[in-house]
Amino acid sequence: MTDVLDELTPDEPTDAPRAPASLNWRQEAEDGIVRLWLDCENSEVNVISETVLTELDTLLDHVKETQPKALVIRSAKPAGFAAGADIDSFAELRGEGAVAKLEQGHAVLDKLEALPFPTIAVIHGAALGGGFELALACEYRIGIEGAKFGFPEIQLGLHPGLGGTWRLSQLVDPVEAMQMMLTGRTAHDRKAKKLGIIDALVPERHVEAAIHAAAKGEMKHHAQGFRASALRTRAARSLAATRMRSESQKQAPRTHFPAPFALIDLWEDHGGSKAEMEKAEIASFAELLDSVTAQNLIRVFFLRRKLKAAGKGRSGIAHVHVIGAGTMGAEIAAWSAIQGHSVTIEDVNPEPLGRAVKRASDICERKHLSGIDTRDALDRMMPDPSGLGRARADLVIEAVPEKMELKEKIYASLRGKMKPGAILASNTSSLRLADLVDAAPERTRFAGLHFFNPVSSMQLVEVVSHDRAERETLDRLAAFVTGIDRLPARVTDYPGFLVNRILAPYLMEAMVLLDEGRSKEEIDRAALAFGMPMGPVTLADQVGLDICLEVANSMRSSLDRPVAETPAWLREKVEAGETGRKAGKGLYDYKGGAEPPKSPEPDPSTEIIDRLILPMCDAAVECLRNDVIHDEEQLDGAVIFGTGWAPFRGGPMRYARTRGLGECRDRLRALAERHGDRFRPDPGWDSLA
């Protein structure tokens, strides 16, 4: 029998027919109001592609002739209004070609804006980038509860390019508008209403009434405050712009991220005139599009998509059982519960289970979950001191301390207890799966699932295979990772797997540099100047010096190549309990106020940078040679999303290729001569095309 709610809920938002000669729009007219439904063909989400705009152009001409009472634009996709511009097509654009396309797009939205009758955008879900710009060109915007608006272009090293810079800064308080564009942050339904982005916020059931009110001119526009009008003078803009520039410089230097500065210039210089600002927006956008930063960041966008594609299909995983309620176990459990899974988390002691609940509650707060969503997530995550979830779970994730005997004991106790078909995954980061697999209850349904800390903000999860893992097991795990809104990287059982193998020399070389007498601030600030999110000394403290020591030892014993020596003082520090941030003291002193530096060195030593960065590129080449990961793109994506590796440089392989493979290899050879064999380039460099 059909569920009552299913019976009452329509399958499709609309059954309006396709508009004449259009692949992406549906059209209907009722009560003298024309409705255009955006419905991009062969896609789950709408994107504002060139065809979408040219089709709209033709449709607007027809609609204008019929002289309707009003025109409504909305989306026929349950997923939302429109995700943004069609990045696939504009990524290829350069110079004059880009300018021409942008001008065409501007003309369509200007035509929409100029229609002599009310134009109404109805928005559900996300209206981002070009989708937001389409909505902004309408006279009214009606938001359906849950709607959100934003310009994520800045994350691609760009700014809005279809008139958004002008229209948003005219519509709402220009400083708020600039903040949205500079940070890429989205404004959610009530926030959007408060800012004045939408004129009404209604549930779906009141949309028709709201449309009729707008069509009759009975809907009030948001009134702008005094502050907004005061900011419409050139002098006020200059003052605000200066502040924005210094804020942006703190976030990321102009040399690496030119887009925020281009946007600020654009607004300061042309914020008083529509025609000027639109023209300047096009020129500035086209210029940014040509920049290496934007090209690399656009590539990062594609890398994300590629990683995601490796986790398609159904995981068949509803219930997750996590064994071990330490930091990682708690994070994994909390994140899985927030993403909708039933979760049990087991530990022998009740105290860590209590802390896990608090951690989950804190993550909900940090992620701005509503009270109801927080309650539901916490209800889904059950502390399970007696291990009831073992028999219920489709996936058991072991996240206990890195002790072989402990893991083996737990695996033995799982034998015969797990649900048929259930998968056992280990979150180990330093043990080899080959050494663990024999203890697993079902070897084919055992694999590694390596999360990064904190799971709630690190997007990457390594899905680690081994000789006897079934393909289906790995596919299901990758799909599970995608399902919890993380990115799977499919890697093989290699020392440190992929990400830690590549990151290890960064940390280890920093210790050698310290040993040579370089200051920790100098080392860290050089790495920041390169664009790393965190200097290696700071990172070592963050990871924990004890863990670093373990990683170094395991690299030394399992890698078939020389690695950096571990200074004796590091071992002494660990023995003295100065293990890093978690202990309040490590290489930096977190209680004594000697915190790590945050600003990059303006004139960094290339020697330090090369010694830190090139061994990572070399490790990447070694991983490719050993088939640890499928290809360079996945490798770069995994390293960027797993570590925050300077995204505008496109990842270690992209960086090596940009700098020149030959040059990198030669430089490594030179470093090997001076500093030792650990820099000797991997044989894999020779076979790279």
């Binding site: 608090k358 209800d379 889904r380």
Partner: protein, 427 residues
Amino acid sequence: MSRPVYLVDGARTPFLKARGKPGPFTPVDLAVQCGRPLLMRQPFERTAFDLVILGCVNVIQDEMNPARVAALRLGMGDKQVAFTVQINCGSGMQSIDTAFRYIRDGSHEMILAGGAEALSQAPLVYRQEAVEWFGGMARARSPLDKAQKMAEVRPDFFSPVIGLERGLTDPITALNMGQTAEVLAHRFNIDRQTADAYAVSSHKRLAAAQDEGRLDGEVLPAFDRDGNAHAKDDGVRPDSSIEKLAKLEPAFERPYGKVTPGNSSQITDGASWVIVASEKAVELHGLTPIARIVDSEWAALDPSIMGLGPVLASTPLAQRHQLEVGDIDLWEINEAFAAQVLSCLAAWQDEDFCRDVLGYDQAFGRIDRDRLNVDGGAISLGHPVGTSGNRIVLHLANALKARGARRGIATECIGGGLGGAMLLEAA
């Protein structure tokens, strides 16, 4: 048609003493805390129940019909019918009794029956005059009206009454529950020291039960958002002694009263569930019952002596099943007040009382203290009013099984002048 009815499993939260501020859990939070692991350890899906019934006295504003809210939060599905019952201190047993009768009569196969109460969350109640003033203020439109209203404010508007205090006062006789215990202590000649001695044994028994693992599986840990793990009933005082209790002032009738905070039940938060099933459900899901629910009874009397409720409710059960005092292996008599439990025992030993009130030829007899509240009671572990009736039935079932005993009665007095009782047999 009269079908056998089984109690197949059950679990409760630790009972958490109210410590002068709202505790970490609402009634439904508590019901979810112990309900999740209880449902998880069953061999059937959580959607397999026909009905959810929850006893709850102090329902909070955000959780109207807490039974339904709990069922949904426990993932029992949109189609789960659920209702809440309230008969004051008997609510948690009323839920089991309703389940028992539905299953016995053939309309249902399996029911989740519980009790939940968060007395620490009892609201502050404004005086009636203050409520009227708030209403008037909300209707005032013009600034002048508002100013006039403001001038009417009186300081005592803002000294709210604690709702719990009102809830524990009988509306007919205006006697506080503690005062009804004073009435019984007077009528049955229970002295202060006997009452205190009873209270000490309650604490010792609970402490021993905790230490010796007799509550394992019945009491499941609860975890709050601040990261605390609540593993056991926290009102227990293993070091309690007659000397210490003797120092306490009477709580309700100073200076001569006998009822003190030390020999009364504690104000606590807690929830409890039991799974009640027909023979068919037991077979279908391959369950192993803990006990069989044989019969139940409710009785009423003058509110000022509500503490004798257990005598009036239990005696008809004994009489219907021709049971003498020695035939009943274990008793759970809810410990609202030591003086009240002792008065019940005294009544059963009083020949006149048994003849005139209960219809016996002679005294029913002495209930051996070794058969009564063997693992402590509300004096040591607390009395979350809507939950206690559920807890005593669950614990009686577990205690019968653990001791290999055959038959037991769980019974409670109920504020307002009622008593409830349930007869269980080993399954």
